[in-house]
Symmetry: C2
Subunit: 428 residues, 2 copies
């Protein structure tokens, strides 16, 4: 049987998953490929840390990428390090030496995916990155090989397990944001510094990758307007529940004749919508094509073995391509990116305000909204104390720009203590 030697760059959660998966499912994989996969090298940063690790034969650990790049045996390099710069250098080097690459690195793909694809093509090397979005869920390949007969109109994803875990706990167990974050840290769902997840950057990278493929447009992380979940409180969660909604951090990419919009923000989504039921650390990606209609892919968006499932599947595809002397490269089509002005993007909003419990407050607020031509769909006022009241308003679809301006005006009213939150309602 033919043998293909591969090298792993990185041996964290995903790298270990790849080693474990190949140990578990090796026979079935080899049977399908008629080829044996051997992990020859694993690149790590600190040899001491791995001294006691029980690695299957014949894996060699190295801290020197040269050992890998100079080894002609190595045909496929699996990059599971995360972070963009060093990974990019390594991958470029691989392509130049005609080694194919499988990457699970969303930071890298979101920012350098297209230049790397082009470089790989120049050198006739393969480049696969299914695991860079939503872990084990098949979405990258289906986007370009199964939904490609469609004009993609919308991609909406719950693509960050950490924030979904936090929001699910806030909804189901009535936990505060702080307590839910703390529990997510304890259970290993959130990192010590959770900014990347809770601020929405992680989801933004993933939606940039999917929008690039779905819309045939080279968008990057910087094109995404991002809001995190840090300001969501129990009050918001409770109001959402009462009104028949669930709050989720959604990554939303839309395309119409006027251009593309890319947003990550917490959103009200009606109970009963398939995305509303995606709980805990699960991910889901909802795609609307002009012919296929709505499709959704659901599964574990992170974790050692689920992510390794996508990585090894990519490795298998590269080997199947080797075996018939091709690369899996497609001539991707990239249109010029026409981004919509963020301030023109419309949605209904939920607004929560803390106001003085005094006459005339509601008149003042509704006057401002009327001045901006924003119409009120429903309104709820609750007296919190004799001095303070809470006003919750659902407004009809209004532009981001107008809503922001009107809220500034409302906040400047003397009777308004603060606009506590403004959350978009996603009607899909």
């Amino acid at each position: 049987m033919r043998n293909v030697s591969i090298a792993l760059l990185g041996c964290g959660t995903v790298g270990k998953g790849v080693i474990d998966l190949l140990a578990m499912n090796g026979p079935l994989i080899e049977e399908q490929l008629k080829t044996k996969i051997t992990i020859k090298w694993v690149l790590i940063r600190d040899l001491q840390k791995y001294e006691s690790m029980d690695l299957p034969e014949p894996i060699m650990l190295t801290t020197n990428f040269d050992d890998i790049i100079n080894d002609d045996d190595v045909e496929i390099v699996v990059e599971v390090m995360g972070s963009a710069d060093f990974a990019k250098e390594c991958i470029e080097e691989c392509f130049k030496r005609k080694k194919s690459v499988v990457s699970a690195n969303k930071d890298l793909i979101a920012d350098y995916g297209i230049p790397l694809l082009k470089l790989s093509q120049e050198h006739n090397a393969d480049f696969q990155f299914e695991a860079s979005v939503a872990g084990g869920i098949p979405i990258v390949r289906p986007m370009y090989s199964s939904l490609n007969s469609n004009i993609i109109e919308e991609i909406i994803g719950i693509m960050n397990g950490t924030t979904n875990y936090i929001l699910s706990n806030m909804t189901e167990k009535g936990m505060s944001y702080e307590d839910a974050l703390e529990e997510a840290k304890e259970k290993g769902y959130a990192e010590a510094d959770p900014t990347n997840d809770v601020s929405g950057y992680d989801a933004a990278r993933k939606i940039a990758i999917l929008a690039t493929l779905g819309f045939h447009s080279a968008v990057t992380f910087n094109d995404v307007t991002v809001e995190g979940i840090e300001n969501i409180t129990q009050e918001d969660i409770r109001h959402a529940t009462e009104m028949g909604y669930v709050i989720k951090l959604l990554a939303i990419a839309r395309q119409d004749d006027d251009g593309i919009s890319l947003n990550v923000h917490p959103s009200f989504i009606r109970k009963g919508h398939p995305l509303a039921n995606v709980g805990g650390a699960y991910n889901a990606v909802f795609v609307r094509g002009n012919c296929v209609g709505d499709v959704m892919m659901y599964g574990q968006g992170a974790g050692s073995l689920p992510t390794a499932s996508a990585v090894v599947s990519d490795v298998m595809n590269v080997i199947l391509h080797f075996n018939i002397n091709i690369t899996g490269q497609r001539e991707f089509v990239w249109h010029e990116v026409k981004l919509k002005n963020q301030s023109s993007i419309c949605a209904p909003y939920y607004l929560r305000m803390v106001v003085n419990n005094a006459p005339g407050v509601l008149a003042g607020i509704s006057r401002v909204l009327a001045d901006y031509n924003i119409s009120i769909r429903s309104l709820l006022q609750k007296d919190e104390t004799t001095e303070i009241a809470e006003i919750v308003i659902l407004i009809d679809s209004s532009s981001d720009g107008l809503v922001k301006e009107s809220l500034q005006k409302i906040e400047s009213l003397s009777c308004v203590r603060k606009v506590a939150n403004a959350i978009r309602v996603i009607e899909v």
Copy 2:
């Protein structure tokens, strides 16, 4: 730009969808392929029926398959006729003439998929059939190209829109089976003779195809044990709702060390499970891999444009293969099929019985269950009239064989009028 001429066999719902889709999305498709797709021929049965149809240039209608098979221009034949025998002959002829084939025909693929794949390989032709399962939902290709690093343990699908529409209406609108079926017919979701759908045969064909690919085992329609939804009543629906379940027609394929089981039957599934929320004419396929865990694909499992989305995507893949001089053929691996004995397959069951409203009835029934070592999880007795009572029992996981035997015994008790229904509870 290169041109590829294709022919459609059939011009029903799906065939028309293919014509419409290519008219709508042609430019984007051609841009991706750097190839123009021209529908040259459409094979139909009755020329008169299509006389008034406004077909785009340069489509020619024919009732004679020879026109197509003898036309060397035609590189890809799209078979969207349905039914197995004539389609099979046509496709075999295509392969022998080195024409590639895209088929949406589940009857054909479920019964002859593997021999046809082999024939296509012998003649170096391409053979794609994404649309044969669950319409536009990407599932066939993801199964063999994205989940192939896993040992697939379980595939559970809601793969028949007609029955799902009927059951959803029975659940949400309290309709009787008969009324819900009538409405499904009126709305075009059910055919005049609905047997194929309501008896579960359609779902059985689809699960046979997915199990073949997922388990690397050449199973066919005949290996599936099938029960339809004809016996589901409002009583069953109401009891399910009260107990926190939803009734769905599930197609279930399972594989473990002891073998494979293939079943289609109505099932209790707990509310909150992603499959329980699949409503109306939507389909969903839930797959459990030993590494990826649970993934689910959801979308429209039928309909003109959704199904055409999968068909045209297949055509695009064939052309991309042409353009690099390959076929998309994989060396599929087929293990020997080891089917489990149906009577050994275990599940908890919901049992509904109509009994005489008399002392000792419950004692008699519970005695029989105890004799078969079947343990009762919960029990509900309702007096319907002074003479008749209804008994609903949830039993712990028990084998198909034992349950059948015990129910025969129970039905033979003089106090039992009938065992009205026995429905498996699916715990996933």
